[in-house]
Symmetry: C2
Subunit: 267 residues, 2 copies
């Protein structure tokens, strides 16, 4: 079982990824694909007159402030556009993909954080009415039901809170909880960087191996979104996933390449 | 087995519908929900600077001209917004809804009509590059797999062509082919009208019963989108569906009410 997360950042084409998924699925590999959609959400929400607002938490992580209107745009773009374009491309190369969000069949349940504690202009502030959450539990029955019948699940980063509200979740961390719940041999986090860089953005400073006892050091190297990937990796390894590979989505055979050791292998 | 199609027109709230679905599902009724989304697609596509273009076929039916950009907006809005808002509302009233488009798992297959023959300004024209289709086949295995495990499928009106291209399909006709394939006892077409009106828009002229041998007369009464509902009804009855009820979605208990005879019952 592989869980592959592919980012929605600029410069990522899905053709090579889908070809690689097709080759793996044909060879009998069970695989769950999780995707992002932040970049496209920014484009569409800006076009709709609702530009994104990013905030920095008091612990230093950047995230999207998700009011209800933003949540609905986020769900629309990730579950309706990115997800369905991936399903279409996968179907075209012979993969019987089924696109879902984490809200469908309560596939991914999350703890809603309706209040964000942020730092803005050097001051601590409290921001209410947020519709994002931390993914916590996975309906593995539904995933197994689909996988056993030959379907390949493709999951958009929307989850359901305990009160059955849709919430925006970080796709890397969603992929991590899915990998843990499915006892995956590997979790692959593919995006528009070659892996963890010791000296960002110098791509020649790629960290090819990061033993789990040195994850704290990895977190120091990590810039921006890479911090969430390292946190996701830590969570996944602690939860029993065999290894986590952070690798480039912009290359030929991104999944097979990562499994062969390209990127940052954390185990 | 009931197949219920609810329109995406103005004035339709989904609360009463979802409450009614919950009561039926709790009583053991198996149900598949199909929804539209034309109105919301018009709103969003106009906001995105891509106003909808409606054309009239040479046989007199109005439809949306769906170029590739329009298709992607249509999929985004129907499969990502309307579908997920319905899933969220259903989850909130205890229905374990799973939202899908017809592209997922090749749930609904359609014949793509890439060329439209239309009448514009009194002249016949040929319009190429259309991404719409006529729904033809249903993956009943996938629907039964979900229904048997207690999930309630909610389907957005996007289907997959033989070449695995996504296409926009009419939701009434999609509901009709789903009802036929699932051998439904009834197909309910709920929208913002009380049923077929002999004298549109006079709601007191509601046709309460339309025997199948008088469908041709019903087609004469029908205005605008009602024509497609009558065509869908005819197709469904010929395909073995027990009865078709065209009824109002804007009332309390719209499904139970329709099953009790409110609306236009065609059998």
């Amino acid at each position: 079982m592989l869980v592959v997360k592919v980012g929605g950042g600029e410069g990522i084409g899905f053709d090579a990824l889908c070809q690689d998924v097709a080759a793996l699925v044909k060879s009998g590999q069970k695989l769950v694909l999780v995707h992002g959609g932040s970049h496209e959400t920014n484009v569409i929400s800006t076009a709709l007159g609702k530009p994104p607002r990013f905030v920095t938490s008091i612990s230093g992580y950047q995230s999207r402030y998700t009011d209800r209107e933003t949540l609905e745009i986020f769900a629309m773009v990730t579950a309706g556009k990115i997800n369905k374009l991936l399903v279409e491309k996968l179907q075209q190369v012979g993969v019987n993909a089924v696109g879902l969000s984490g809200a469908d069949g309560r596939l991914v349940q999350a703890a809603r954080k309706s209040v964000l504690k942020i730092v803005e202009d050097g001051k601590r502030k409290v921001l209410r009415g947020d519709w994002s959450g931390t993914p916590e539990a996975v309906n593995t029955d539904l995933l197994n039901l689909l996988l056993e019948q030959g379907y390949t699940p493709v999951i958009a980063p929307v989850a359901l809170s305990a009160e059955s509200e849709m919430v925006n979740v970080d796709a890397d961390r969603m992929a991590a909880v899915v990998a843990m719940a499915m006892k995956a041999e590997a979790l692959l986090l593919l995006s528009n960087v070659p892996g963890l860089l010791a000296n960002f953005p110098d791509e020649s400073s790629l960290v090819t191996n990061l033993p789990r006892h040195r994850l704290a050091q990895g977190l120091e190297y990590a810039q921006g979104r890479m911090k969430k990937k390292i946190m996701g990796a830590q969570e996944a390894l602690e939860g029993g996933v065999g290894k986590v590979i952070i690798a480039d989505a912009r290359v030929e055979s991104p999944i097979s390449g990562a499994m062969a050791g390209k990127g940052t292998v954390i185990q």
